[in-house]
Each structure stands twice: as C-alpha cells, then as structure tokens.
C-alpha cells in the first residue's frame, strides 16, 4: 500500500498509548498481563476495522483496541483497580471492555472459548448478508485448544467473514513456543482449506497489510483467513512475574526489534514527524494516562448495588 497516504502517525500514537497505558496497568496491578513489545501486532490487527465490524482482541493488551473504538481510558483504568466505574462495575476480569464498542467481551478466563463467540459474530454477518467482518486474536498457546480447531473449521465450512490472528509472542506463561508448537500456526490453515500467512508481528506495516488483505477477502465473501503475527512477550506473564525461567539474552535480542522505535524510524525516513513532534505526542499521552488513573483512583469501589443480585 502507498505508505505515505497512510495514517502512520495515528498508528504510532496508538502503539505508544498502549505502551504507556499498559505500563501503568502493570505498576498498579501485579496481576496485569503486560503487552509490552506486542503493540505492532495488536494495533496493526485492529486499526483498520470499521466501527460496525466486531473486534475480539486477545486478553493480553486489549485496552488499546477498546480505546481505538471509543472506550474511555479512565474507565479501563478503573477496571485495573477493581473500581465500580469499570465497564462491568467490577464484575468481570479487568481486561474486559465496553460491549458498546463492538467487541467480544472477556467474561471468563478460559482461553479459546472467545474464538467460538467471535466466530458467531461472523455467522451473524453472513446470515444477514452484510459485509461486516470480525477479527479475533489469540495467543500461540491458545492455538492448541480444541476450540481453535472446531471454530476455524466451522468458519471455513460456512465461509464466515472471520479473520483469526495469532498473537504469537513465543510464550505461554513459562512454556516456550517450541515446546507446544511443532510447526508454524499458519501451517494449520491448509488443513481447513483457508489462506494462512505468517508475518513479522513487530512490523506494523506488515501486520496491517496481511490483516487488511484478509479483511478485504472476508468482506467480499471470500471466507476466513489465518494470520500468524510473530512478536515477543518482553515482560513476564504478569507484571509481578520475574520470568526467571528464561534467559535474558533472548529477551534483549527482541528488545532490539521493539516495534515502537522501528515505526519511529519509518516516520523519520518518510519525514512524517520530527523528534519534537514525537516528544509532544509522548508527553500528551503520558498526561492522558496519568489523568485516567488519577480519576479512576479517586472513584468508588463497587458495592452491594453492583452485585446485581436482583438481575438474576
């Protein structure tokens, strides 16, 4: 695609938003699951979706997707802090988002089941003969759950407009990917008779291109696709995890490939933003994040009324 006509600055802005917001989440909640290093995959997979499409982001790093679709940062922060202002009033896991932004919400912690629910969004679109699509992302570990197999096969048989994006970050908690995957995840596409592709998940250009192509195909009735975006989990499984089960060298090698500096270089080469502009963005976002958490911090805890005993 013609890169310069593309909103690269906006893409950069969201990737940085995720980096800064996630950092604060981890600081405030030791059980947060940090997405540092995976921003190109996350933002690149969902940036180009229409608001009437459905987004089903993986549990690691979904906040930027909700935010891109209109979620209020301070209410997301409230979820991280277990406050009543969270979109589920403190009921759901903190990485849930507002249903109104056209997402598949996180209402449980068992990995893989959201693949089925996301596939159902595609089913509804196909049923209505609309050109809406659903993009669902999931981890390289989650790719081994039975639901991966059943749902992608169902989508293939019914030619549903669903794009399955594997956010391959090399780890499932303490287990390295080569222990639970003996081939690429994209190699599984052939078994369902659908297109499969692996891309550099730290190259947001590549991710947008691959997912964009799959989305276009789905919109035109071409059915589902499987995209494997190879990135890396720079932090531990959760904020407090020191990840002593892996060698620092590997992590450092991946830090070299940090998607943010990489995009910065592109912006620079193309003269889309100079250093001072980028600094301005960074300080703006820093302030936004700080304000979101301050406001959330000051908001009340959920109480008996939020328990919703009446509603059931």
């Amino acid at each position: 695609m013609a890169v310069d006509s593309e909103p690269w600055l906006e893409v950069y802005r969201w990737m940085l938003w995720s980096r800064l917001f996630e950092a604060e989440c981890g600081r405030r909640n030791p059980r947060w699951f940090p997405a540092e290093g995976e921003e190109a995959t996350i933002v690149g997979s969902f940036f180009d979706l229409r608001l009437d499409d459905v987004a089903a982001p993986h549990y690691r790093g979904p906040f930027v997707v909700y935010a891109m679709r209109g979620a209020e940062p301070w209410r997301l922060a409230a979820q991280v802090l277990g406050k009543a202002a969270g979109y589920s009033k403190g009921r759901s896991v903190p990485f849930n988002g507002p249903l109104g932004t056209g997402i598949v919400p996180w209402v449980a912690g068992d990995l893989g089941t959201t693949l089925g629910v996301a596939t159902g969004a595609g089913l509804a679109f196909e049923y209505d003969g609309s050109d809406r699509v659903c993009v669902v992302s999931f981890g390289d570990g989650t790719a081994n759950r039975g639901d991966f197999h059943e749902t992608i096969n169902l989508a293939a048989c019914w030619s549903l407009p669903v794009i399955y994006v594997c956010q391959h970050n090399g780890w499932a908690i303490s287990e390295p990917a080569d222990s639970y995957l003996k081939a690429t995840v994209s190699a599984r596409a052939a078994g369902y008779g659908i297109p499969g592709e692996s891309v550099d998940g730290n190259d947001v250009l590549a991710v947008r291109a691959a997912v964009g192509q799959a989305v276009a195909r789905a919109r035109n009735g071409g059915g589902p696709s499987l995209v494997e975006a190879c990135t890396y989990r720079l932090q531990g499984h959760w904020a407090a995890d020191r990840a002593s089960y892996r060698v620092a060298e590997a992590v450092e090698a991946w830090r070299e490939r940090d998607p943010l500096p990489r995009l910065k270089r592109v912006l620079d080469e193309r003269g889309l933003a100079d250093a001072s502009a980028l600094e301005r963005i960074e300080s703006e976002l820093g302030a936004e994040v700080a304000e979101a958490f301050a406001r959330a911090e000051a908001s009340p805890d959920p109480g008996p009324a939020d328990l919703g005993l009446a509603s059931t």
């Binding site: 459905v54 979109y87 589920s88 009033k89 009921r91 759901s92 896991v93 849930n96 507002p98 249903l99 109104g100 598949v104 919400p105 996180w106 209402v107 449980a108 068992d110 893989g112 089941t113 959201t114 693949l115 089925g116 629910v117 996301a118 596939t119 159902g120 969004a121 595609g122 089913l123 509804a124 679109f125 049923y127 039975g146 639901d147 197999h149 059943e150 749902t151 096969n153 169902l154 048989c157 019914w158 939020d306 919703g308 509603s311 059931t312």
Partner: protein, 327 residues
C-alpha cells in the same frame, strides 16, 4: 387445537417461531435433509432451507460458541446438541460464555440462545445420560424440561423468545409416546411456573419429564386405595417454582421427588433441601427421593430397565412417606 406428539410439538414450535421472527435459525448435526435425530427437525429444512437450518460439522463447542456469538449480534439461534451426552463437549461455552455474558457486561449483553438436547431412555436408546442438574447449579442459565406435547411447544417457544440462554431438555421416551391437544397459533408456556398435573391432599410428588407420567400412574392406582397424591410437574428446573411446591407441601405435609437422572446430586436434592429449609414445619414425614441408582446408564435393554425409576418405585416412596413403610 391439534393433536400432536411431543416431537411434533417441538418442531411445530420451532417452525412457528421461525416464521414469526427471521432472526431465529437452527444449528445442529443432521438437522437438514435428514430431519434430525428421532425426526426432531422434520420438515424444517424443506420449509426454511439451508440458510436457516444449518448442518454443522461434528464440533459441539464451535456450534454452541457460534450460536452465542450470533446471539450477541441480535440473532436468536437455536443450537441443537443432538444428545445430552454431548453437552460436556460444549461445557465451557455454556457455563463460561452463555451463563456469564450478561452479568459480566453489567447487564448490557443479551444472549437469546436456545440450546436443545435429547436425554433419557426411549425408543432411540442411545446416549441416555441426563445432566440437567449441572446447569441448575450455574447462575445465568435457565433450564426447562417439559413433560407433555403442549408444554413442549410452549416452553420451546418461550425459550426462543427469551433474552437469556435457555437449555431445553427433551426426554426421548416422550418423543413419540403420546398425542396431546396443543393450542394453535401463539402458544407460550412461561419459563418458571410449575404445573399441578394431578391435585391431591395426602402427599406431594414433584417430578420431571417422563417421571411425571409414572407419578400420575402411581397416583391413579393409589387413589383407589384412598391415598390422594398431588403430582407437580416442575417443567422449569431453573429458576424453579419454589412457591408452588412449598404451598403444596404445606397442604400435604409430605414430599416425594422423582426424576430419571441419578438420585445423588440430582435436581431432586435441591427441591428436597429447599423444602427442608423453607417448609420444615409443614413436613409430617421424611422426604423421599426417587432417581437412578449410582451407576453409569447401561446399554442393554434388560439391564437399563433395572435402573429407570418405575411407577412402582414411586409408589413405594409415596407409601414410605404416607404410611411409614420401610424402604
């Protein structure tokens, strides 16, 4: 009024609701040209075609998950898990997605999905396991189990129109066993209220599905011996009609619960425990529960028949609580 079998009533309700609402469609295996297990979808494919009667691969978890996802987008899918034995294959989708979605979105999400399945013994004989008790333990799910063609139509229609996930357990013995008057047109049986299948003053028998009929059989015989049995057809297992059952027990002072599923940990335990909690003072005798013995449901007819609660078993339980007969 038309005289329908249980199976015809189920299919009739689905067809009626599909005509009424274009967002209602069916997902399952062999529900298309084949007409469904035990003719449970007979004629639907011919009337509504492949778009609305969708044969799926053997992947219960994907079927249920996709139905839930479509429901979130405003559709009203009915997903058919051919037999209750396959519900475990879709367990996560049912208890962690369907059951949680509304609550975990602060009541924003609606999941108008109907999960129908066939359970129990009957002419088919395959896959008899009946796991309905599991789902009554899970907040966010409604569970219905009709005993008559009229109720089968009514609760199926109500389930399809309900905005919450509803599991419909279709007992297979009943499928072709009887014909019954079913009101024409818009026929709904609300989810929740039980039904007095036979009034009586001496003892309350709370039963489900097939056991309602065996309880009535036992009651008819006992009437000749001067024992007036009140039979309550629970119909909805979650949320169940505590008030009707408690009122009946306050009147009779005696309770028997009967279902085809295993006695231990079954739905009868919840009914018995609730009565012992809330109507204890009205109880004039021990509660008696009738259910299957603690073995997996055997396959050979001669063996299985030994495990299915009979009218005689129910009669014995009634006489135990009415006359203090030994177990």
């Amino acid at each position: 009024m038309s005289r329908l079998t249980f199976a015809e009533a189920i299919v009739g309700a689905i067809a009626y609701e599909m005509r009424r609402d274009p967002d209602v469609f069916l997902i399952g295996q062999d529900i298309g040209p084949f007409g469904g297990a035990m003719q449970g979808t007979r004629g639907l494919y011919e009337e509504f075609g492949a778009r609305r009667v969708r044969d799926a691969p053997i992947s219960e978890s994907a079927m249920v998950g996709a139905a839930i996802g479509a429901a979130l987008q405003g559709k009203r899918p009915i997903v058919e898990v051919a037999f209750g034995e396959f519900l475990p294959c879709a367990m996560s989708q049912i208890v962690l997605q369907a059951a949680n979605l509304r609550y975990m979105t602060a009541d924003e999400a609606r999941v108008p999905v109907t999960i129908r399945t066939r359970v129990g013994d009957g002419p088919y004989r395959g896959h008899p396991q009946s796991y309905e008790a599991w789902f009554t333990h899970v907040p966010g799910l409604k569970v219905v189990m009709p005993a008559s063609p009229a109720d089968a139509w009514g609760v199926m229609a109500a389930a399809i129109r309900d905005d919450e996930p509803v599991l419909v357990f279709e007992q297979m013995y009943l499928y072709h066993a009887m014909r019954d008057e079913v009101p024409d047109g818009d026929h709904l049986v609300p989810i929740g209220p039980a039904r007095v299948a036979r009034p009586g003053r001496d003892v309350t028998v709370v039963a489900t599905a097939w056991m309602v009929h065996r309880a009535i059989e036992a009651a008819a015989a006992l009437a000749k011996e001067g024992v007036e049995v009140e039979v309550i057809d629970l119909r909805t297992l979650a949320p169940w009609d505590q008030e009707m059952v408690l009122a009946s027990v306050r009147k009779t002072g005696r309770l028997v619960v009967a279902h085809e599923a295993w006695k231990v940990g079954g739905v009868g335990a919840e009914v018995a425990a609730t009565v012992a909690e809330r109507s204890f003072d009205a109880l004039r005798a021990p509660i008696a529960r009738v259910g299957a013995p603690p073995v997996p449901v055997p396959s050979a007819t001669a063996l299985r028949n030994l495990t299915i609660p009979s009218a005689k078993d129910i009669r014995r339980a009634i006489l135990r609580v009415v006359r203090g007969d030994p177990s």
